[in-house]
Symmetry: C2
Subunit: 395 residues, 2 copies
């Protein structure tokens, strides 16, 4: 079936997360992604457990729909093969520490000479320039330096790492936007360019309300846990069995809420008649709500409040997300047959396009699975030439 990014060829030198997430999103929408991996080793994430029949579940979840080509970029013949592929590609993407591609003599200035139409995207922790350029980066260091970790906390409590790697993932998403924008521009100008995406830069972009607040008032935002600064009552409350999230953003919802939970006396209470008063008296209101919500299970509260149109929901565990009927309806869990691991489940495609829908059509590749195919079809190599390259461990 026809997909939106059919015909876009991406040489993908990335490892682990930010880069592979970016190219996964593009592969889902139809781009041909050729994953270039170190012979015999491959993407670091191939060695990350847990494993299914020896195959990394983590690697598989990030690399469906891609092709794997093994290539030793330290070897002269390896470099030559990469340049040959660059000549036949639209995009090259890497997430090495800045300077690595220069050392390999495969940096943008070299590759653009091969193919002036090449779009070269580099994702790194701190970017290709600036004082921290060469600092090693991990997601949790970026989360800490970028401000989100310090704010993600309960008042007075320790900072908390966001449990998914938003430092990596958002950088991957911004990079995908940059690549698609550059492709569009190239259709007009005929020329490629370099895209430099830094995880830390992306974290600054994510700071939305806290950053705006700081610039407006010069006051440093502090953690507010699960509460809302201006809407009350809004937040997460313990119930008899777990937690309930509610969001009551205006006085009309408050009235409905008090009636539905059979606390009409709160409607008369002068401390709670407006959102401003409820915010002022939020500590006391919070205690009353905590007492109320502890009397029933979350599912009962959700049913009751949902029927009344009160924004609410549970705090789900991963298994509950994976087995949620709505998530199922939306096809957000898909499975794909892998030659070794068998049926593997993973997240589906969140960009739902009506006419050219994305899809998870081919399984994550075995290391080097497409090496022969790519060298033969794209570069016209003969079998004996490929055999010789393999013997020299160049592929």
């Amino acid at each position: 079936m026809h997909k939106a990014l059919d015909g876009v060829r991406i040489l993908d030198l990335t490892r682990v997360l930010a880069g592979p997430f970016c190219t996964m999103v593009l592969a889902d929408l139809g781009a041909e992604v050729i994953k270039v991996e170190i012979p015999g080793i491959g993407d670091d994430s191939r060695s990350a457990g847990p494993f299914i029949k020896g195959e990394s579940s983590y690697f598989m979840s990030l690399n469906r729909g891609k092709k794997s080509l093994t290539l030793n970029l330290r070897h002269q013949e390896g470099k030559a093969i990469l340049k040959g592929l660059v000549n036949r590609a639209d995009v090259l993407i890497e997430n090495f520490r800045p300077g690595t591609m220069d050392k390999l003599e495969l940096d943008y200035s070299v590759l653009v000479a091969e193919n002036p139409r090449l779009i070269y995207a580099a994702i790194s922790g701190f970017g290709q320039s600036g004082p921290y350029r060469e600092k090693p980066a991990y997601d949790f260091i970026i989360q800490g330096m970028g401000g989100v970790m310090g704010l993600t906390a309960h008042p007075g409590g320790p900072p908390t790492r966001v449990a998914v790697a938003i430092g990596d993932i958002t950088a991957g998403l911004f990079a995908a936007i940059g690549i698609l924008s550059a492709l569009r521009e190239r259709d007009v100008s005929g020329r490629g360019q370099m895209i430099d995406v830094a995880m830390l830069d992306c974290q600054v972009s994510l700071l939305e309300n806290p950053l705006a607040r700081y610039f407006a008032t010069q006051e440093v935002p502090v953690p507010i846990g699960n509460t809302h600064p201006t809407l009350n009552p809004t937040g997460a409350y313990p119930t008899k069995d777990r937690y309930l999230i509610i969001g009551i953003g205006n006085d009309s919802l408050w009235k409905t809420f008090c009636q539905v939970v059979d606390r009409k006396q709160w409607l008369e209470d002068e401390r709670f008649t407006t959102n401003a008063k409820r915010t002022e008296n939020s500590a006391h209101l919070g205690e009353l709500l905590a007492d109320l919500f502890r009397t029933r299970n979350t599912a009962d509260w959700v049913e009751l409040l949902e029927n009344a149109g009160i924004p609410c929901g549970p705090i789900n565990t991963v298994d509950e997300v994976a087995n949620d009927p709505h998530v199922d309806f939306r096809k957000m869990i898909v499975s794909i047959e892998h030659a070794i691991a068998g049926e593997v489940k993973m997240a589906g495609v969140p960009i739902k396009m009506s006419r050219t829908p994305g899809a998870v059509d081919t399984p994550p590749p075995i290391l080097g699975e497409h090496t022969n195919e790519i060298l033969q079809n794209l570069l016209g190599y003969q079998r004996n030439k490929i055999k010789a390259l393999r013997e020299k461990e160049i592929i």
Copy 2:
């Protein structure tokens, strides 16, 4: 200066965050974004404090580089104007609750009849289909239902909302990728399509490691706070004045670390000689590290460890992020002159393109600032016609 998305015209009916974030990213890269707002009221975020001379800092931080057109979509003449603009636009984006555009008789099926090339993007909490379709959604409800909030916690502690609205923001980023992919496909096929992005779907995509782990083992992932499941020592530790994050991912870094912090005895300690052993004895190692790190300030540790190549960093507050020399070097804080608010600071452009760089060139619009210009230039309306529309409060 030439930008990558020059020539792309977007009709933006979105409010508050997911949609405005999406169109901000596209406007930064050159798209012409016409923000369609309710006459006299505008985007809800215009009423969100704190204010700078009466202008919402939050609204301004999300809407730089856009034009504002006021339009009453409930009025027949308002609908006609929107259809006129749809004929001259590439993209329409909205983030109403599903069903709202149908009620306005401005849903995709109506608008595509006006312009078959139209790309129509809808962002919503739960998507345009499925059992939760009409459920009201806020970022924190999506974070709760999508799994990230339950995992973002210290072991045994309460779940924690991620302090920035990653539910909204990541949906905005995925939507931008969908829009750009659909534009590319349209260049080939000549036809637009509908893009349906649900915040909850995007949260499933974000679950990366926890979801892969669950499918591989059927064990439900539990919060691990600021530690790492398999790399030790990795995490955040209190120092004399605040916190320090370190990431020691292999035995070679461990050796360097012990030497640099003058704890050579740890190198001899049988409990710590390999990453596997350090993970096994992480509780005891954590205590030793806590005692060590409490002896100095974070800045001193960062300097010491950084010079030795140990991945590390502080946990920054928002003011520290905003004033960081690297963030400054990367131009990730920019300022723009606003007619009323004066000089306003905000996050810069995280997608750094070498030949057609994005930029924050024009300030966030005053409500209806571009109404006359757009009606005259795009629809050819005369002054007296515009005056009559204004008197009828249609614009």
